[in-house]
Amino acid sequence: MDMGSLLHQFIQQMINGISLGSIYALIALGYTMIYGIIKLINFAHGDIYMVGAYLGFIATTYLGFGFLPAIIFAMLGAGLAGIIIERVAYRPMRNAPRIAILITAIGVSFFLEYTMMLIASPQPRTFPAIFEATVYHLGPLVVNSQQILILVSALVLMVALSYIVNKTKAGMAMRAVSFDADAAQLMGINVDKTISLTFALGSALAAAGGVLVGIYYNSIDPLMGMMPGMKAFIAAVLGGIGIIPGAMAGGLILGVVEALVSGFISSTFRDAASFAILILILLYKPTGLLGKNVREKV
């Protein structure tokens, strides 16, 4: 193979990887925010992403919504689900040992998966084509409009999130609670409300990821959240769990690594590579790529 075609293949794999990575990043953001604020690895997060995909499916198929209303509908719905889950499952456990709340999260994960199976049947569903893929050829490279849509939506949402966290009062409250919940409470911040808001935001982002995936891959099922949930967890750890820009970077890096491994080594090693990254990070830099000794937390 000559250098030119190798280069084209490399760039094409970067494009593939970035579109996959932006989805991981969207889910990883929720992981990282929730960890940042209550130190919980929310294993139900991948399933919130699934719930979001189904809400998007309902909005487009039964309610006849277009892309934008559908994604907003899914984000609102999943945000509400996030608040309810926190209220019902996690808040009563807030002072329990960390392992107990972790197990609760696994329980919530199962609950969501199998409840959805009961309601929506385990058969995969297909999204209606609300956003037809237009394919652009740039020389030998192929990009389609859905990949651009995913990347743009992910970027817009990440910028919006950064704005909320860094520039608004609610964001300031979130950072304060994350830093020291007791002190924040003494300063008159409503800790419960702030935690609810964090769950709502994180869940809404996952739901957006779910809808984008539904449109992109055109197939959703009740167990679709398992693997992306794990991958997003790796992305969050890779970037430094609790750090918002870390989750974005981690997601994109993971997506690109997976594409390059499948493209140039073997598709069989793709998942192995992701988990190898997790092990290496935990061994050599447990705070993640962007982690510092004194961590800036959400």
Binding site: I106, P122, M226
Partner: protein, 388 residues
């Protein structure tokens, strides 16, 4: 953490098994005889099980309407194998020890069927898989001996892989093929192996062989690699859910070559997942086409349509044949003793089913013809028929 989930599921399943075992099975009442259906009611291949269940129920209804078999009515008891090998063994166990069935139809998936054979063999209950096409369902790979209690109504993988390889060389004039194999499925690996052997024997060349796992959703990296190898055919012997996404993403990547696969493609979901246009210029080998014009088949299609308001797919046709075959064996045996039913099954000769004539060879495989089906604007159309 996924491992933890798996453990939790297993623990729950065990608890449930113990609870159910405690209840004890009801004895069959005097006038009905139970046939087990070890079927894919949930999971990635749920549409196969749904079709099979419909077809078996239709067959039993017709048999019972004519007075049943040996003066008794037949009833179907379904156990869900969740499209998984471990669950298929559990389902087989439940059907045999708890529901006291006299024979079993299913599972449809090769991996699941292979896993379940040990259970029905040790209970000496005959099992017919309608669609488990892997050779090892009826033959023990360790010693090459035929498993005495396992049968199938479909042809085996070598034949499907061979048929497609011949079709690719002769009709599609393909010289360079790429293969994408579902690495979690015995069925896909079997098809791929025989396609590869025969395609090379026909003078072709395999330019790329890639693997994926069930539930994967992103294939663009692999497809980019395949495209760079410049094949003139892509062979994907997997199941419809992943195949649909591979075809869709492949077409989006500008891969316009013909794509081909096996009967795992046969699902009404495929055009929905892949998109009708993307599916043009794709072919799959199958056991059955509802367009077959034998009288038996025409009647079956009409009855099925009336009952379920849908055209039967291959899973329905083969499950229907399996049910009729069992009834025939019971009649021949003049008994509902599982051992006698098994003896009669092995001797079946020239049984006329909707999918063709069934005579079991020494490996309990039927000798029958295959069809190639082409997708045209989302519709399956009969392309050609290939005899053994």
């Amino acid at each position: 953490m996924k491992r933890l989930k798996v453990f939790a599921v297993m623990a729950a399943a065990m608890a449930l098994t113990i609870a159910l075992a405690g209840c004890g099975g009801k004895k069959a009442d005097g006038d009905t005889v139970k046939i087990g259906g070890n079927l894919e009611m949930t999971g990635g291949s749920a549409s196969y099980g749904a079709s099979a269940k419909n077809a078996i129920e239709l067959a039993l209804k017709q048999i019972n309407a004519k007075g049943g078999v040996n003066g008794k009515k037949l009833a179907l008891v379904v156990a869900d194998n969740k499209s998984e090998a471990t669950e298929a063994t559990n389902a087989m166990q439940k059907l045999i020890s708890q529901d006291k069935v006299v024979a079993v139809i299913g599972p449809n998936l090769s991996s699941a069927a292979i896993a379940a054979t040990a259970v029905n063999a040790s209970a000496k209950i005959a099992a017919i898989t309608p669609m488990g096409t892997n050779p090892n369902v009826t033959v023990d790979p360790a010693n090459g001996k035929t498993k005495p209690y396992n049968y199938r109504t479909c042809f085996i993988d070598p034949f499907q892989g061979t048929v497609m390889a011949n079709f690719a060389t002769k009709e599609l004039k393909a010289k360079k093929a790429a293969i994408m194999v579902d690495n979690s499925s015995d069925y896909a690996k079997g098809l791929a192996q025989f396609f590869k052997e025969n395609f090379v024997k026909n003078g072709g060349q395999i330019v790329a062989e890639e693997f994926y796992l069930q539930k994967d959703t992103d294939f663009k990296a692999t497809l980019t690699k395949i495209k760079a190898a410049n094949p003139d055919l892509l062979y994907i012997p997997g199941y419809y859910q992943e195949v649909g996404m591979i075809v869709k993403q492949g077409r989006e990547m500008g891969l316009t070559i013909p794509m081909a696969g096996g009967d795992g493609w046969d699902s009404a979901k495929l055009p929905e997942i892949a998109g009708k246009n993307a599916l043009n210029n794709t072919f799959f080998s199958s056991l059955y086409s509802p367009d077959d014009d034998s009288k038996l088949n025409k009647d079956f299609v009409a009855e099925y349509q009336k009952a379920y308001n849908a055209r039967p797919d291959v899973f329905a046709a083969l499950a229907y044949d399996s049910a009729l075959l069992l009834a025939k064996a019971m009649e021949d045996a003049k008994s509902f003793d599982p051992a006698k039913i098994n003896e009669a099954l092995a001797k079946v000769n020239g049984f006329q089913g909707v999918s063709g004539t069934v005579t079991f060879n020494a490996q309990h495989n039927p000798v029958k013809s295959a069809v190639i089906i082409e997708h045209k604007d989302g519709k399956q159309t009969f392309k050609t028929k290939i005899n053994p």
